[in-house]
């Protein structure tokens, strides 16, 4: 199982990657929108964990792009964001995200959502 983790906050990426590895999920870190699209095509991850606010293509743009392509539309996307704006949360789901998890939630909550999306019991 491998997951792409996209966020320009390197500390956050390192923290979540470490957590995923402990759960037996390989983590591929990327730090902006363009990298996210490039590495999605290059590595075909089972899941993408995506931040909204990123340089070189924000989360909305990345989502639109991923979901518009038949090569990547099937990959589940969890948006993991520090946004407290309910509109943002609605908008990511409208853009095709499969789930929204707040950054303030603990990692186990994120893992629960990942398990649901990947069919891990």
């Amino acid at each position: 199982m491998k997951a792409l983790i996209a966020d320009d906050d390197r500390v956050h990426v390192r923290m979540v990657s470490n957590f995923l590895r402990q759960k037996g999920i390989e983590a591929i870190p990327v730090y902006d929108g363009v990298q996210t699209l490039m590495f999605t095509r290059r590595t075909s991850p089972d899941l993408i964990i995506l931040d909204i606010q990123m340089p070189a293509g924000n989360g909305f743009q990345v989502l639109n792009n991923l979901k518009a392509s038949s090569l990547t539309a099937h990959i589940p996307v969890v948006v993991l964001s520090g946004s407290v704006d309910a509109e943002d949360q609605q908008r990511v789901i409208q853009c095709g995200a499969d789930a929204f998890v707040s950054k303030s939630a603990d990692h186990e909550e994120l893992y629960k959502v990942i398990c649901r999306l990947l069919g891990i019991s």
Binding site: H12, N18, F19, Q53, S83, K103, D106
Partner: protein
Amino acid sequence: MKDDRKRCVPAGMDGYVSRPVQPEDRFAPIEQLGLAAGDAAKTLKDGAEDLIDTASLLARVEGDMKLLKELVELFQRDLPKLFSELQDAVTRRDAKALESAAHALKGSVGNFAARPAVEAALRLEQMGRRGDLTEAESAFQALAQEIERLKPALVDLSKEEVRK
């Protein structure tokens, strides 16, 4: 005694206070658990526990102190850029840039469960979002102060725990 603390956390301990009890330590572990410790505790404590929810931070790094040290170093490296972007936005009175820079900084201090700094950054983010920058300068100073308190506390925390 520091070894005791380190051994107890993975074993499921929720808080640790060593004897003789220091007044500022007494309520900190209780507060980390989110239990009401009364107003007395607030006047007693003035240490790192006030700045960082250490219990929650340690849970996030799964008790891995080497990782914590690495994260603190990364934070120190990235902070100047985030901070100057924020300062720029305040100086230029650019609401959109302020919202975005404050949001990034909020995430950055949020990684370390540093609640007072998160709240200070959130105030700026909301000002940017509302487009009302009348209080931005003082809110920025308040955040700068929180970050100045947070930096040494984080370094101490990572040093203290890695030493063992």
